[in-house]
Symmetry: D2
Subunit: 203 residues, 4 copies
């Protein structure tokens, strides 16, 4: 079990948008089954409470909010970019692109630049802002387990951070994606893969 | 089906070491079943022949060859680093860390810096050397489907490249890892996921 | 003299804020002498007109707009960060942090993420967005010659771009800083260092 | 005056090759006057002794050793690349590309990947290897003040490190280059610019 130097640990909350986390959100129906099964919302609440109570720094790691024109003149939009072009996920100025009200940034939180792809580190200021707070350990939660969470975690390891995944504070569209994230790929790069309960107990 | 501007396309061959590709290699026993099933060696031979015949630039993307002391004074070695510390995979100066004789670099190939983690781009010169050759499309093959290949592919997309995975020119330790790489995660970031035969037919 | 493939060339306009370019701006008094001497404003107007007329992509590369709290909890703010903390340069929501009205982004321009330090590439999406437009050549103008322009240019070369500096479409606080930027350091990394007139003549 | 947490401080010695530091080296004649004036060799000896005695981690940050073919098929070699193509500086396998015998790596030192441009961080593993040793402060010495040292220092600041330049443990080809490095540009990004004597006194 990892132990956390609390003043050097950050909680990275990835993409806490209504589109992902709220009933009526554009992506929510696709993850609802697994989110319900693992208790996603309740675990995010518990994490939020416990980590803040222990003084852990909170970083909000948001996906690019879709704007008209996005990706349309890009040379090589990825399949995910194409989906977003069609569905307008996390549209800027719309409810879906607003923070889920329980997980909006609080005073003192760091909101990093929006990421265009899947990794919260790629083409953003996340690494710099973690370094400027002296962070060495990151605990990553939010959506989706096998896309943004996994990509952010893989980058964190390449950048030299200690990486923790929280298996029931994330979700995915299919069970095999959860399995891939936590049983197949996570164990190759993550330093700890724990439940919300285990994490809180270890603080 | 993607089409390839041949003078702007590179073939990234990841980790063509004896330890991965040759009988007697340290990792080979763990991938042998799937390598045999997909015809890995024969497909790598076909790709190598066809891509070179079409003038596609070949980049060798090698994992750090283990040396005594590696990772021992690192703050946060990953689970993969710990495995390598125990097993001495791709040891520098040993047969396992030599190129498989059929896939050694040829004159004119680019051998990029060794990567410490899973992505061939992280902490190496791969992006610069691709840019300096004017490369915009990368075709990624080699080992392992869900670790170095997937990490290299994810980074390539974040960096703005067009990314192709070749599903039978790679292997993994388990079937569900191949499934995760090509059916679950690849489709979120890769622009094309093809067989060796399909790729060659499209050149 | 360099020639420019116009569909692969971008004009990077760095920090076109009132604080830098307008009378009454916080930094303007410190650069006014040299700006006047080289004809900065008029040259930026000429560049803007000529490059847009030739269809060159325009990228606005903005410095972080100061907000209350900025840098205060950073571990190692640089001397430049400390100056900004004291002076509130480019304050968000104030006139000084607004675009100079003649150089505000126009429809179709790309406004990249704000940079925290001196390089427009560091901790931002500039490289990705250039790549996604297929850009290979960058023409860099704006402020200051020996800080943000030089840092952006040095990074551009390290990233594999063709780099042009425009010696009279920038300014600095002292003459020796202009000399350092264009006669000492620029010649080590920039592919072309030209006047506005020379650049326009070469399009 | 900065103080240094010795277990989190690294000494980055940039390009300690015979071509730079030894009589008979290819670049040495161009820097000899200033090197002699500031006492470069003797100061590097003092730094080496003092920093090792205090247990500071030593990182060797080497320029790419020239090999036949280097840069010849590059799209945009920089002016510095072109010079190296003509002069074969730091040729691999030749005396000029060997370490100056007094500054060769010692057991326990970290030798990072060779850099292709000017910054020791660009396209190398320097950031990762510093992070994996828990380094937060870098003291940069070696050659040249306004090229590799300055570029490495600028990147270090963008990456969130505390940066110290040592004004008499470097050299340049001209006095105005030293002035630019330490009086004009360094003061914008470096957290400390000191003499060898001042640095040693502060340990």
């Amino acid at each position: 079990m990892a132990t956390y130097p609390l003043d050097r640990t950050a909680y990275l909350l990835v993409d806490p948008y209504n589109d992902f986390l709220s009933e009526g959100g554009k992506v929510y129906p696709f993850i609802e089954a697994i989110a319900t099964e693992v208790g996603l919302l309740d675990n995010l609440r518990k994490l939020d409470r416990a980590l803040r109570a222990h003084g852990v720094a909170v970083f909000i790691v948001p996906h690019r909010r879709w704007e008209p024109g996005d990706y349309e003149d890009w040379r090589f939009p990825s399949p995910t970019h194409r989906k977003i072009m069609a569905r307008h996920n996390f549209a800027r100025g719309e409810w879906g692109g607003e923070w889920h009200p329980e997980f909006a940034p609080k005073p003192g939180d760091t909101v990093v630049q929006e990421h265009w792809g899947a990794s919260g580190f790629a083409n953003t200021d996340l690494d710099l802002r973690l370094k400027q707070k002296g962070i060495t350990h990151v605990i990553i939660a939010g959506l989706l387990a096998n896309t943004c969470i996994e990509a952010t975690g893989r980058y964190a390891t390449e950048l030299g951070y200690h990486v923790t995944l929280v298996r029931d504070a994330t979700a995915a569209m299919q069970h095999d994606m959860m399995h891939a994230a936590h049983e197949l790929n996570g164990p190759t790069y993550a330093h700890a893969i724990v439940t919300t309960g285990e994490l809180i107990a270890s603080l």
